[in-house]
Symmetry: C3
Subunit: 336 residues, 3 copies
């Protein structure tokens, strides 16, 4: 194993492990892992035969497997122990596939899926049960749609993507022209384009652009219940955690991270490498890259210091009242 | 075109445009639009043959098409260039339709849809693939359910509505009577009633009322991943943006706007025309109409001023410490 | 009725009521209820023949039905007046059920549902139309999946659970090892285990654990659009309201309550009986049980007091400026 992950064994090189398990659950013939320092005390108590750790970690009474990046090594080890089971190719007789659909090799379409006219499914595509692939949509090589995904017409999904159940790509953007208190629909004619190696979590939604496209850059990973508004441009290699939301026409620079329940307003430009803390909302263009927090989001350190004081505001107010009283006393004495 | 939108041409009246595109993408034979002042510099650089603008906008080197409300005009122009393709009527043989379902004329039901007993589909209704229309539900003239919408039993959807994929209407409200630490379900027996001309975005949910109905007023537009609690009454012509949430039994007055990721607590009365800023939460009855922000939401201007100071709190605290020191010095001198 | 709910009649014991309705809608032959003091004025105006109230409530001109816990009594009365209609057992010919699926007695499977290989459905299970029950999943006695629920492979759902439409259980957790700016998927090999008597609202998602399981404790009730991250452990008898989110590996103690749009960060331990206010976010381990509010969440009372002052910060700042001016005056006089 050490060779496989480019790691180093401290302890019994011949130890055989039969699987990977959490620190709490692992038994003597299993490998566990310490990838988050919070769990140091659990690691000390674990019954695991061996533990995957960062270099230099001391953990008495356990054989250790060191790796420069133990979380990355864990990913590799889990793949080794649990190789993904390939889905068998074949089109379910219970699917509805339009006659002119173009198909590559080894395509799988599950029961009750609908592949509408003019769609194209490339090689090794897996379309889960009950999916809907709209008119003229394209799904690239090796991409998998889990059951019950919806692609509205003209949606493009790149190669090696993984789209989880309940995801809706290409729904109409929220565009209305309000006149005399009535909301008139602005037709949403752009598309959704998902580049290669993107993963999108369960029940997330990406709206189609009004005129231009909405785009999710290659290698970006999106968690569950995330909302991407019409015309947004998510750069490559971004991470958007659960329940985050990016409003319409906003550009998120490459490698940015939005933590859980965070958001960005519309028509903004978020610089590459921006990190937005949980529950925060970016409501204006940030001046440069960095970590942001708060509503509206500001520099993370400033926000943190401010929040500490916010909690002490009653104290601060009392202090102010006292100072005023003392000042008044001085003033009175002065006048007397 | 100018006649069609009641607008005015400044420049070459005979210019022919073949389509509409964004400022960045438009070519010389396309029309673009400047409906948001943020994009003024893009408008100056656009290669578009003509640009739709507000009256009086100066933009050198371009033929201009002026309209009193350019965003509304854009909606009209997009419809002209891209007329919606009517869905062909017909019931898929692969749908499951109960025998006693009442149907109007020109109804479309897609494959793998289920229309349960006692349901009624009026004229020109479109039920997308994989939808579920529960027992006794009614869908009004010209309404479209995109693929994979669920209507629980007894749900009513009005005329000319557009319900996007993944929407669930009529799920049980979150009502439990807690006794000795155990939560007992309160049966949810009300319905969901969606009035005419409502649009609901992908994966949003509207719960049925416990005893009375939950109602979405005519002309209201709801974005994706929005949650409307049981017994809520959303007035006519409201806008609820992405990931907003309205808790149970709350009444939202006509023409109100909830921005992205905002919310309102339960059992509240929100006056007509209220605007709630992004990420804000109304947690008590507002005293009157107006724009609200913050958690809990308060007058928007007050909130904005306060937030500016929140970010300066460390400074303010230092200032207070200094003042105290100076005061103490004065006091000591006084006493000496 | 009084006997059925262990209550007490004040007024005409022989009054016959034909149904239950809200205070605003009830007619003279209906029973209404006053379970929330906010609605006292509506109760005074109601046309209801009788009103269910807490003991000692005075309400002139109405026959009263007193119950120690009127909300709990309402739950019981609604069940009496509207007994749940049992779903007819039977497997739709339009469902796709793998040959080796184990089935108990009186199982119902709706049209276009998929029950994959190795799954087990116990007695009295109801699988709604269009559901997907993945390979090796188990659904316990008396549990109902409403239409369009997805269980990923190996998911376990206990007895008497109610899972609403659009719910996705067992999707991959959001686990990526980032190396040189690229995000490498960490295989998500744990399961989702839902214990007995759990209800999960429409379009909510619970992710499978990376290595261990994600677990929802017995009797817990989850509202719509809630997100539970991988490896989270939700204790028994918790309430999670609409759009709440619990990040990965967090443990929520028994009987805790998360209000609407609240959240908890990852790898935290929330003590039993914790109450988290709407829109709040727990971002560190709370020191003990209690009610929390704010971002980051702190003691609710402290937060409330602080927020009152936050709104007065402009005033406080002006006050500070004035004090400084007065102090400077004193200092100048002192020096002169």
């Amino acid at each position: 194993l050490a060779d496989e992950i480019g790691g180093n064994v401290r302890g019994d090189r011949d130890r055989v492990v039969t699987g990977v398990a959490t620190l709490d659950c692992a038994g003597p013939d299993e490998l566990s892992f310490l990838t988050n320092r919070r769990y140091r005390d659990r690691a000390e108590r674990t019954r695991a035969g061996a533990v995957l750790v960062a270099p230099g970690t001391e953990l008495e009474g356990h054989d250790l497997l060191e790796a420069g990046d133990p979380y990355l090594a864990l990913a590799r080890l889990l793949e080794l122990f649990h190789p993904a089971q390939p889905v068998e190719a074949g089109l379910s007789e219970r699917a509805w596939i339009a006659e002119d659909v173009e198909q590559g090799s080894r395509v799988h379409v599950g029961p009750f899926a609908v592949i509408d006219a003019g769609a194209r499914l490339d090689d090794d595509v897996v379309i889960g049960a009950g999916c809907f692939v709209g008119r003229g949509s394209r799904v690239g090589n090796g991409t998998e749609l889990k059951p019950r995904v919806v692609l509205y017409p003209e949606t493009e999904v790149g190669e090696r993507c993984l789209i989880h159940s309940g995801v809706v790509l290409g729904g109409d953007g929220f565009g209305f022209a309000t006149s005399a208190g009535r909301h008139h629909k602005v037709p949403q004619l752009g598309r959704v384009v998902i580049e290669d190696d993107v993963e999108i979590g369960a029940n997330s939604t990406v709206d189609r652009g009004a005129v231009g496209d909405t785009r999710i850059g290659r290698g970006s990973k999106i968690d569950n219940l995330v909302m991407i508004g019409h015309g947004a441009q998510i750069g490559a290699h971004c991470l958007l955690a659960g329940q985050a939301g990016i409003a319409g026409s906003t550009t998120v620079g490459e490698g940015s991270v939005f933590a859980g329940q965070s958001g960005a307003g519309g028509h903004l430009t978020i610089p590459p490498g921006t990190i937005v803390a949980a529950k925060s909302a970016v409501l204006g263009d940030p001046p440069g890259p960095g970590m942001l927090a708060g509503i509206p989001a500001t520099d993370h350190k400033t926000w943190k210091r401010s929040q500490v004081i916010v909690r002490k505001l009653p104290e601060l107010q009392r202090e102010l009242t006292k100072l005023r009283a003392r000042l008044e006393q001085l003033e009175r004495r002065r006048e007397s």
